[in-house]
């Protein structure tokens, strides 16, 4: 790695304007990734600037990591090189919003909180109830494929993203998809950028379809004495004619987190809890309450309660902020994001709980019933776990997920940087499809300047 001279870096100021180049210690420390600090940070204000910056970086062989609200820089394996932080927080404009057509185009630096407010004025929304909602920007949410409990009804980013504009590793502006809700014109390259953690391109515009806000909503919680009963209830819901907005399963650890404070008197937080929300006309929501109550009863629920609007929004925030709350509880938390079929969530959770118990770690789990599981392992309060214990646990989690009876894929979304001594820690053992991902990476970033080392298979 050659470090360019200060004179050379000043070229970035020519591109992005005076004041756009940051080299102060505090500013660089704030943009560190897995403990690695860049030599400079540059604030881009347009797609053209992003392209010029990447052309410069490619010529100088500088490794670049794009960022916005910097809330999720901890996700991904450690970069092998990191010279330049490309800060997109100034690119925060809504470029087009056609409420009548229910379509939207935004720059990557738009904060989700601001965007939801703008959409709310038109009684519309994006189903992105994602973590770090106060800081997260659209670019980061897309690049990290942030998970939202609302994916149950609306799908994930890939499903409602209509197209993107981005800059590839050679500094060329490119796009795919478009602005219409149905489109098969050319390869869907933008889908590759969803969840790519900045390794394929720097996103400069994202187009979405928006959704009308439902007339009314209701949230219900059912508590169960076992994981099996809770997941049985989820299965019964998915096999009914009901189509809820979200179905979340909280293990006792998560239930205690969600239902702390004023809730504690209403629900016994030491149980398994399923949270279901429904939307539609009041008559529809009433019917959900009736039928969910019956299904919960049939699954031997200990309790079934409708929540007030105030309670519902407080529960929603805790569900959506789950990873952040885990890390706030303990910075050394290991938080896996696991994909599994719905029917195998219960046995998977049971196995993971055993792995935690064997190492005297707390196990805190939150599952999206459609098949996404956040599994957090934390040292008991005022204690810490030995790094070798954690490394061994990580290997065990991947082995458990990879077993044919579990059929799950996992990534370690959050863990202390010092554990990340190989990409396998974060992405699990090599899979046959990693070789295809390498091909994709080479097509987008042949010189390997975009977030090198951050992705699966050492990409």
């Amino acid at each position: 790695m050659t470090r360019p001279a200060q004179a050379s870096l000043s070229r970035l100021e020519d591109i992005a304007g005076s004041g756009a180049l940051l080299t102060g210690e505090a500013e660089l420390a704030a943009r560190a990734v897995c403990g690695m600090q860049p030599i400079a940070a540059v604030m881009a204000s347009s797609a053209e600037q992003v392209a010029a910056i990447l052309q410069f970086a490619a010529a100088e062989k500088l490794a670049v990591i794009p960022m916005g609200g910097r809330s999720k820089l901890g996700i991904g394996s450690s970069p092998t090189r990191y010279d330049l932080a490309l800060d997109l927080s100034r690119m925060n404009r809504v470029l087009s919003y056609d409420p009548q057509d229910l379509t939207l185009g935004v720059e990557p630096g738009v904060r989700i909180e601001d965007l939801l407010r703008t959409l709310g004025e038109q009684k519309q929304f994006l189903p992105l109830a994602v973590p770090f909602a106060k800081r997260a920007t659209i670019g980061g949410i897309v690049a990290a494929n942030s998970s939202s409990p609302l994916r149950h009804a609306y799908g994930a980013v890939r499903d409602f993203c209509l197209g993107m504009e981005f800059v590839t590793g050679d500094g060329k502006q490119a796009k795919s998809g478009g602005r219409v809700v149905k489109n098969v014109t050319g390869y869907d390259l933008h889908k590759l950028l969803v969840g790519s953690l900045g390794t394929l391109g720097v996103i400069t515009r994202v187009n979405f379809r928006t959704f009308p806000m439902p007339h009314s909503q209701g949230m219900f919680v059912a508590s169960f004495s076992s994981a099996e009963a809770a997941f049985d209830f989820c299965r019964a819901v998915s096999h009914s004619v009901l189509t809820p907005q979200m179905v979340e399963v909280a293990n006792p650890g998560t239930a205690a987190l969600i239902f702390s404070g004023e809730f504690a008197t209403r629900l016994e937080p030491r149980t398994w809890i399923v949270i279901v929300s429904a939307a539609g006309q009041p008559a529809v929501v009433q019917r959900y309450q009736r039928e969910l109550g019956q299904l919960a009863g049939a699954a031997a629920a200990e309790d079934f309660l409708p929540l007030s609007d105030y309670e519902a929004s407080s529960v929603m925030v805790k569900i959506q902020e789950f990873p952040r709350l885990m890390m706030e509880r303990d910075a050394s938390a290991l938080i896996f994001r696991i994909n599994a079929v719905p029917g195998l969530l219960a046995p998977l959770v049971a196995k993971l709980r055993v792995l935690a118990a064997q190492r005297e770690l707390d196990f805190v789990a939150l599952a999206r019933a459609a098949g996404i599981l956040y599994a957090a392992f934390l040292p008991p309060r005022e204690n810490s776990a030995a790094p070798e214990t954690l490394t061994q646990l990580i290997a065990e989690v991947y082995r458990t997920c990879g077993q044919s009876e579990t059929q799950a894929t996992a990534m370690l979304e959050w863990c202390p940087a010092e554990l990340k001594n190989s990409p396998e820690i974060v992405w699990g053992p090599a899979r046959p499809d990693f070789a295809l991902m390498q091909r994709v990476k080479k097509s987008f970033d042949s010189q390997n300047i975009l977030a090198p080392g951050r992705f699966a298979g050492g990409i």
């Binding site: 009548q100 057509d101 229910l102 379509t103 519309q124 994916r151 799908g155 890939r158 060329k172 502006q173 490119a174 795919s176 478009g178 602005r179 219409v180 809700v181 149905k182 489109n183 098969v184 014109t185 050319g186 390869y187 869907d188 390259l189 889908k191 590759l192 969840g195 998915s238 004619v241 009901l242 189509t243 539609g280 008559a283 529809v284 019917r287 994909n339 599994a340 079929v341 719905p342 029917g343 195998l344 098949g371 996404i372 059929q407 799950a408 894929t409 990534m411 992405w427 899979r431 499809d433 990693f434 070789a435 295809l436 091909r439 994709v440 097509s443 987008f444 992705f455 699966a456 298979g457």
Partner: protein, 477 residues
């Protein structure tokens, strides 16, 4: 060398799995588009291993490979444009597993779309993508083209329903991407592969999501005296955030042909109808149907009625799905377009199509997915009239340009294929296309997999390709 290749293919697959006589090859020269191309040999693999063996042989003989399902595609995706070898997946037509507990099915690529829905009907489930050719088109073809259909308005297109795929790569390697879970960590390779029109890899197994049938369905027919009132209704339905499961439009010209054929009870003296379906819980369906009826009446619908029985509902849908077939009764040929526009631009776009129809002195019928702005203008012609066919192609190009100008796209569900690959520069810059080319080269380095599709070949830039002689008419869409 050709004889030698055929001999090796026969040794690999058995004589019954290889066709090479001129009369057999003729049957594989066309698909549902107006394109033609002659393959040298057709092979019928039974497994991914067979496909892998075929690919290795084709590489050795350096011949192009084209995958083919039922050949119902509308953009020439399954046409052997550069000759070579066609891999027909019709014998890989088994449903391998129905995992009702997890709402998944695992199928071979040759499974017919509707056969999957029928196989899971008794479980109260269905496979959502429902192209009009669903009685014959295959799921492998749906994956290649990222197919849609009327109900994709509510359920999304094929890419929203595929969780895993087994592929044979161009070097013969068999690899799996995705899986059975709703997401898989790493790049979204499913997202890239679905809709890549057979240019990146050959699909040998697909894991799809199954959906639960709704409790209630209500199908409405709204009848109009003017096209503008019809299209304004669609805009209002979208604006008022009512989300029907399907919202289809048929214009009066098309309706008359359909009614004479299907006898579904469509009024023959109107300007257009909307066929709108709402689904869900009974309570939701009733209130949505009431809202839609109100919107249609505000826009001067002459009549809004609901299908009173399942039989009547099925008949209305038959009218929609067999509309293209019905066109065959009044015109020797038609050329179906597949543009997409922002939904709010529907009224002006229909007016523009009327102008184009007058300008080129052509009859254009409109049957399309109004709810998501996906147009299917049908330009009628007689293949014996070469001069007229040139006008057809020019009119088609003009409609496409209009779609692009109002912020739309070249194709909503039929694919680019060899029909619109030279139009790609209307949407994409050279840099965009170069990146797509690089991605293709990374999977298909020798370019032997479905050559001449999707990306422009550099000749006749910006034009719809005019085939020397149009093939027989499309069956349905």
């Amino acid at each position: 060398m050709q004889t030698q290749l055929i001999r090796e293919l026969e040794a690999l697959l058995g004589k019954q799995a290889v066709l090479s006589s001129p009369e057999d090859l003729m049957l594989y020269e066309y698909d549902g588009s107006v394109e033609l191309g002659s393959p040298r040999v057709i092979v019928f693999p039974s497994s991914a291993k067979d496909v892998s063996g075929i690919v290795r042989l084709a590489n050795r003989y350096e011949v192009p490979i084209v995958g083919r399902g039922a050949g119902t595609g509308l953009s020439g995706g399954a046409i052997a444009r550069s000759g070579g070898l066609v891999i027909a997946f019709s014998r890989m037509n088994r449903i391998l597993e129905i995992d009702a507990a997890n709402l998944r099915a695992v199928v071979q690529p040759g499974v017919v779309n509707l056969d999957l829905s029928r196989a899971v009907e008794h479980l109260g489930l269905f496979f959502a993508p429902d192209p009009s050719s669903q009685k014959s088109c295959t799921i492998g073809g749906n994956v290649s083209e990222n197919s849609g259909g009327p109900h994709t308005l509510a359920y999304g297109v094929t890419t929203n329903h595929v969780t895993g795929v087994e592929l044979v790569l161009t070097d013969g390697e068999i690899v799996r991407i995705g899986g059975r879970s709703i997401e898989t960590s790493g790049y979204d390779l499913n997202g890239l592969l679905v809709g890549s029109e057979g240019t990146l890899a050959l699909v040998t197994e697909i894991t799809v999501r199954l959906m639960r049938k709704p409790e209630a369905v209500k199908t409405l027919l709204a009848v109009y005296d003017t096209l503008d009132d019809t299209t304004e209704s669609v805009v209002s339905i979208t604006v008022r955030a009512i989300t029907p499961a399907a919202c289809e439009m048929l214009d009066g010209f098309t309706l008359r042909a359909v009614e004479d054929y299907v006898h579904a009870g469509f009024p023959k003296d109107c300007a257009a109808v909307l066929l709108i379906e709402v689904e869900g819980l009974t309570e939701a369906v009733e209130s949505q149907a009431a809202e839609i009826t109100e919107v249609c009446r505000e826009h001067r619908a002459r009549e809004v009625r609901a299908a009173r029985s399942e039989q009547e509902r099925a008949l209305l849908w038959r009218g929609r799905k067999e509309a293209f077939g019905a066109m065959g009764r009044i015109s020797p040929m038609y050329y179906v377009q597949d543009g997409v526009i922002p939904r709010t631009r529907l009224p002006e776009t229909l007016r523009r199509i009327e102008e184009i129809s007058r300008k080129y002195d052509l009859q254009i019928g409109n049957i399309f997915h109004a709810g998501d702005g996906n147009l299917h203008p049908l330009i009628l012609f007689d293949e014996r009239n070469r001069e007229q066919f040139a006008r057809v192609v020019a009119a088609g190009g003009e409609i496409m340009r209009h779609c692009v100008e109002v912020g739309g796209a070249l194709t909503g569900e039929h694919g680019i294929g060899m029909e619109k690959n030279e139009l790609m520069p209307l949407i994409f810059t050279p840099d965009d296309l170069e990146l797509m080319q690089r991605v293709r080269d990374s999977f298909n380095p020798a370019g032997r997999l479905n050559p001449g599709k999707v990306l422009p070949m550099g000749k006749a830039c910006g034009e719809i390709r005019v085939p020397p002689t149009p093939a027989s008419a499309a069956i349905s869409t």
